[in-house]
Amino acid sequence: MNRQIVKLFGLVVVLFAVLIAFTSYWAVFDAEALKDKRANVRPLLEQQQIKRGRILAADGTVLARSVAKGRGEALRYVRRYPGGSLYGHPIGYSFVRQGDSEFEKYHDDELVGEGSEFGSILDELRGRRQEGNDVVTNIDPEAQRVALTDLEAVGFGAVVAIEPASGRVEVLASNPPFDPNRIPEHSSELNHDPTSPLLDRATQGRYPPGSTFKVVTAAAGLDSGAITPQTTIDAPGTIEVQGQPLSNDFNQDFGPIALDTALTNSVNTWFAQLGEQLGAETMFEYMDAFGFGSTPAIDLPADQVSKSGVFDGDELLGRNDPVDIARVAFGQERLAVTPLQMAEVAAAVANGGKLMRPQIWSRVVDPDGRVSKRLDPSEYSQPIDAETAAELTAAMEGVVNEGTGTNAAIPGIPVAGKTGTAETPFNQTCGGGTEENQAWFIGFAPADDPQIAIAATVECTTAFGNDVAAPIFRDVAETIINE
């Protein structure tokens, strides 16, 4: 019988090996997939037990914090947003059931304190619960409030304000806003709201830029050497491009004019000819350098920022695609841009041609109050040189002083800017009316020592850029400069 007993033991060994194989599969090989299963609430429950760090405004105002509920084993933390809808964008939300979004999502690792593996092992040895870091942002609460209040007075839209020298994002407002505190109870309602309050229009909204894009064309013309500030181009009331007539407002004939007059009066035929002269190759080269065609380098989740550029439906077109570059040059064709992108254009011109990476965060503070990480401003690109930037600034000052953007003027402070009014008739999001425009203003102030670069846009308005967008620029810039 002994032979059989040994064989039986062999079978037991095999059976137990099967058990080890199954355990290995669940505990190690399939573990990640199991953690993603909808039926698995363990990862969420564990998350809930971590005290997430606070998110603070530049002046220390608390934008998000975690409050404890229950005690002992039942202790869990729930997110609170004291600022309500004012900071819904760009802060976003973080809840166990509904997930997270925007700034909360992008900075999740810092906020839950998963900075260093070594640190958390030490904490575990000391028997300390994992605790998150605070993240301080560059958001300026007063300017954010001004931006949102102004927007709410005129319509849906967005405002982005960036400190040109550093890329610090001080305002990122989107109207309609949403209150992150409502997410746990009303997420379905907010998701199905036809006005899309959860859409961050500042970074995800893609709008026709209208004449604000002429700043890019002018930059390309000057920097490539195709024109100088003195070069004149004949600008008749109407020209024909690709078999279609292309006109100035009211068909106004300007005759031979240089850049400052063309920009001040936003002359379409002038910029169309410059665009044709530059060609698609050069135009796309400069657009790319300003950040068009790329995912914005801001600290927000990649799926919550949109690229800007020329689109065929959802497909981004490049320099080799059939594009009517003359119409691109003054902001028409199938150009679609985010307010963030246009603020970056203004910031690059303001910063002597250097585009800094736009960043919402400023520093990370660990639970002991030490700054563990600090924003180190970095250059994204240099689309134009300092001389071009200075020449362009002078022309943009003309827009505010005597041109189409006079409502952006701040008493005693030189302002450089550009208006834009793109016609968006039959736009379904605006109700399909024929008179709706996308109104814009981009610019910076003070023009001689730029502290802030801003893009403001209002959608579905019958008004022009100077009427609704320029005043927002003025109010926000004034608030920031006077602080």
Binding site: N2, Q4, I5, V12, V13, F16, L19, W26, K35, A39
Partner: protein, 442 residues
């Protein structure tokens, strides 16, 4: 020949250390919740183990030196895990541990000459079957999760299947010892397969019928599987005919398949096993939470006292039946794949020692009894660990010596006592001069 006991004593020392470390870890983690006296438990446990060791020194000086330390290790580990779930439960378990050792000692005291078991084999088989039936008897039977597993006699509640398995193994060992020759010699070939003669096949078909009966009326798929597998193991060892095993397995699968497609309870168990995600909140909840808990364990686990067992802030179970059915998942969660492999290794070592005893034993009954007891023990561990790891359908069988439960602890200590009794005799005879003793069996 006292060196066996010295080795046993030496082996108990790492057990004590491990136990103290385990209690200390849980205590350090949960000192806010648990009472101060908790560290005394370690010392108390060790003292009980030493007393048992002293008793073995007196009564069974030549018995296998490693079985008791291995079992003590499992019990200690189980106590730490249960203590970590609930202090009250751990206190119960500790009491049952002591009760188990008392029965262990009584078994050794009164069954020194365990051959008497052979004489009463039909009585024992009857008791075993009665125990199996008891949960269905009106008045005392109890239904748990759709299965009739428990019996309640006044204040005393227990799971008779745990004791029944020992009775059935004793009967089978005795029956097969007597009939193995006829089963082998009288076999006739039918369709190329050697079949035992019909009149000897009868009792075996009765065993098959009993396990099918359990499947349908007791609704205990786990015990049914365990009993039948132990039966096949014994049949194979007794006859050396693998074909009998194949026939037996085919019969079991046929029966299981038939009942799985006709009896809703069995059908559900199989359905949940194959498609747990169909109803993840109700029927599939336990098995899914069991593997989710393992997924959180990873290689090294989250540490003692770290696993989530209930949903924080509520009493809703996150790992249902953590102290009994799914305790293995809790172990994987807290000590990881490595810890779980350690536990499986201990079961494997116990099985190895058990089969070693069977190899050393001289007479057929001792051999078959040791084989049967070891097999039923190993298969029980396989059935429940396989269940919670989704290798086989999940059934409510306890993890021997680790799961919370008095019947399980006490019955398994009786099983251990029998193994040590066989071992003591076998090892004494192996060292004694050969001759008079070696005639029987072979």
């Amino acid at each position: 020949m006292r060196s066996a006991r010295n080795r046993e004593l030496a082996a108990l020392i790492p057990v004590a250390l491990l136990l103290s470390a385990g209690f200390a870890a849980v205590f350090a983690q949960e000192n806010a919740r648990l009472g101060d006296a908790s560290l005394i438990y370690g010392a108390y446990f060790f003292a009980v183990c030493l007393a048992t060791h002293g008793y073995l020194r007196l009564r069974l000086p030549d018995a296998d030196p490693y079985l008791f330390p291995l079992v003590a290790l499992l019990t200690a580990f189980g106590l730490v895990m249960i203590y970590r779930i609930d202090e009250e439960l751990a206190r119960d378990q500790a009491n049952w541990f002591v009760l188990g050792l008392v029965l262990f000692a009584l078994t050794i005291q009164f069954l020194r000459d365990y051959d008497v078991l052979e004489r009463y084999r039909y009585t024992i088989a009857g008791v075993g079957l009665l125990l199996l039936l008891a949960p269905r008897l009106p008045g005392i039977g109890q239904q748990v999760n759709g299965a009739y597993l428990g019996v309640k006699l006044g204040p005393l509640a227990f799971q008779p299947a745990e004791f029944s398995k020992i009775c059935i193994v004793i009967f089978l060992a005795s029956y097969l010892r007597e009939h193995r020759e006829v089963l082998i010699v009288g076999a006739r070939r039918v369709l190329g397969l050697p079949l035992p003669p019909l009149k000897h096949l009868g009792p075996l078909l009765v065993v098959w019928g009993a396990s099918m009966f359990m499947l349908v009326f007791i609704r205990d798929l786990g015990s049914s599987l365990m009993f039948f597998a132990a039966f096949l193991a014994l049949l194979y060892v007794a006859t050396g005919r693998f074909s009998f095993v194949v026939i037996g397995m085919a019969l079991f699968l046929l029966g299981a398949w038939f009942f799985a497609s006709t009896v809703p309870h069995v059908h559900d168990r199989v359905e949940i096993w194959l498609n747990p995600y169909t109803d993840p909140r109700e029927s599939g909840y336990q098995i899914l939470q069991s593997i989710f808990a393992q997924a959180d364990g990873g290689l090294f686990g989250q540490g003692f006292g770290q696993a989530l067992i209930t949903i924080p802030g509520t009493h809703a179970p996150l790992l249902p039946a953590a102290q009994t059915d799914t305790i293995y998942s809790l172990i994987v969660n807290e000590v990881g794949l490595f810890g779980a492999c350690g536990v499986i290794l201990i079961y494997l070592l116990i099985a190895a020692r058990g089969f070693k005893i069977a190899l050393l034993a001289d007479d057929g009954f001792s051999k078959l009894l040791a084989t049967g007891l070891t097999a039923v023990f190993a298969i029980q561990a396989f059935v429940i660990i396989g269940g919670v790891t989704r290798a086989i359908p999940l059934t409510g069988v306890t993890l021997p010596f680790i799961s919370y439960g008095g019947s399980s602890i006490v019955a398994n200590f009786v099983l251990l006592a029998l193994l040590l009794l066989i071992s003591d005799r076998a090892r004494r005879e192996a060292t004694a001069p050969r001759g008079a003793f070696a005639l029987e069996g072979a």
